[in-house]
Symmetry: C2
Subunit: 316 residues, 2 copies
């Protein structure tokens, strides 16, 4: 009987546990739960342990792979912090899981796990060198170089969201101006759309209508829908975000010259207007001689969970 | 007796040959010559072969390492082209040198060779992961990752000069706007200074004086001198160039997280005004958690020649 690998994905509030046999690429069990309101790290770990025991059904895992939605140290299995949930500062997550479940554990951040997942099971199969980018409430990135995750000396590599592409651009949460994340993430694009609606009363009638008259209701998904239905404000904002991301991806390709960029996250489902602006900006940014294929993520929001499976398999 | 390694550096018009014993870090012989006016690839190769035979003094090299000032294919030993000298399109340089000198040859571009040289013999010693940047008539870059050169799938990695940091900035030779090279290279900074002098007649008296009244006489070195002596136009232009380069280096560090950036090339000798603006921009661009040491090249313009030595040694 194949050894079992337990894959865990700690999202901000959404937690998933799944189990597969070694060498398998389908789940034997899969369970998901949401954090209760006001959760903290210990509550989230309890939720996850319950899910883990549920998918294991009494069986013993041989290894545990973990994706965490925040900065981690892969080398020591530590979570550094969470920007969303309190209590995660310097939590020895790998050690705790090993103590509870009796198997070695590997912990990585969700952008790296997404890269590992797409490389092993998704759109990156066969590419030795690739960049994975996830665009949703933030913009994260992870590298595969020589068929292995590239983490950097401080395990901080892949921060494409905080590369600057417009020093005179709007202020990012990180304090700089014109970061890719400030221009391309869902919430910031929604901010930009609200700013247009507030200052240009004659524009965006459809977007206003779809938001039910409440600009606060605008999010990335609503922008995509409005753009698809022809709203020019939504189209402008999505194109601007996609262009910024495309310049960031093109810059990364000029620097490292991988063969592939896999783009996932909620914003990547924004439709053809967004994708064509993205591809155009990448193509314009690549210097002659640098080629780069840009494709959507194949595993959707499950990329980090599949990456967790590959991380666990790497321990065997 | 130690095996001899022949190191060759094909610059735009300046060619250097040197020889060292395997494991040595001092030259046994070193010779330099300039191309005659109107030279082409064959003339340059003849000049270099003469220098090579001179430094070898009748001895037989065991290996040949070559730095070339333009794009190459390390894998096949081919020069792709030169942007300065005609006749270099698809020249099988490694093969030709092997036929003439009877030893295996490795060929790389000067930015990669500079990275290899600084890593093996210069400021990058002891750093497993580093970025080398050279700023002179252009802005080039080379990576060392895991103690080895990183070239990318098209052997085009390191093109930091053509990363975009200001999409609304001035037009670069490559056709894009706001590339690092357009903002930070010596000739482009000179252009920017001339533009200020032409449009702001009350400014830059010292710079005008140092240029002997002829703005065409302004180059990177003159800008540095004028800045050191207090000229505000020269200072502004140098600071702007250094800031652009610093954002580019900071972006690269956020993406790959090496421990060190080594900065060389003529512009890197521009003095403290330039260096402090560079370091400030890098520090502002790094995201929390990413550290990066930024230091001047230790080998000066000889970094590619030392890299050629290391490339040759790698064949033994």
């Amino acid at each position: 009987m194949a050894q079992l690998i337990l894959a865990l994905d700690f999202g901000g509030t959404k937690h998933t546990a799944a189990v597969a046999g070694r060498g398998e690429s389908a789940w034997r069990g899969h369970a998901r739960a949401y954090s209760p309101p006001g959760a903290n790290a210990l509550v989230d770990i309890e939720v996850m342990l319950r899910l883990a025991r549920q998918v294991l059904g009494g069986a013993q895992p041989a290894a545990i792979g973990v994706s965490f939605g925040g900065p981690t140290y892969f080398g020591t299995g530590l979570v550094r912090r969470s920007d969303h949930v309190p209590g995660w500062d310097n939590v020895p997550l790998a050690e705790m899981l090993t103590a509870e479940l009796g198997a070695p554990a590997a912990v990585d951040n969700d952008a790296n796990a997404g890269a590992i997942g797409e490389h092993a099971f998704g759109a990156g199969q066969g590419h030795a060198h690739m960049l994975y980018v996830t665009v949703s409430t933030g913009v994260g990135g992870g590298w595969i170089l020589n068929n292995a995750p590239w983490r950097g000396v401080d395990e901080m590599a892949g921060e494409i969201g905080h590369t600057v592409i417009d020093p005179d651009g709007p202020r990012c949460l990180c304090g700089k101006n014109g970061c890719v994340e400030r221009l391309a993430s869902g919430p910031f694009m929604a901010d930009d759309a609200r700013a247009v609606l507030a200052t240009q009363p004659g524009r965006g009638a459809l977007l206003r209508h779809l938001a039910g008259g409440d600009p606060q209701a605008i999010d990335g998904a609503l922008l995509s829908r409005a753009a698809a239905e022809g709203d020019e404000v939504a189209r402008d904002v999505l194109r601007r975000g996609a262009r910024a991301l495309g310049i960031g991806i093109g810059n990364a390709a000029n620097l490292i010259n991988p063969s592939l960029a896999v783009v996932g996250g909620g914003v990547s489902r924004a439709g053809e207007i967004w994708w064509s602006a993205l591809r155009e900006a990448v193509a314009e940014t690549l210097i002659a001689g640098v080629r780069l294929e840009v494709v959507p993520a194949a595993l959707g929001d499950d990329a980090p969970l599949w990456g967790a499976l590959a991380l666990g398999a790497g321990l065997l």
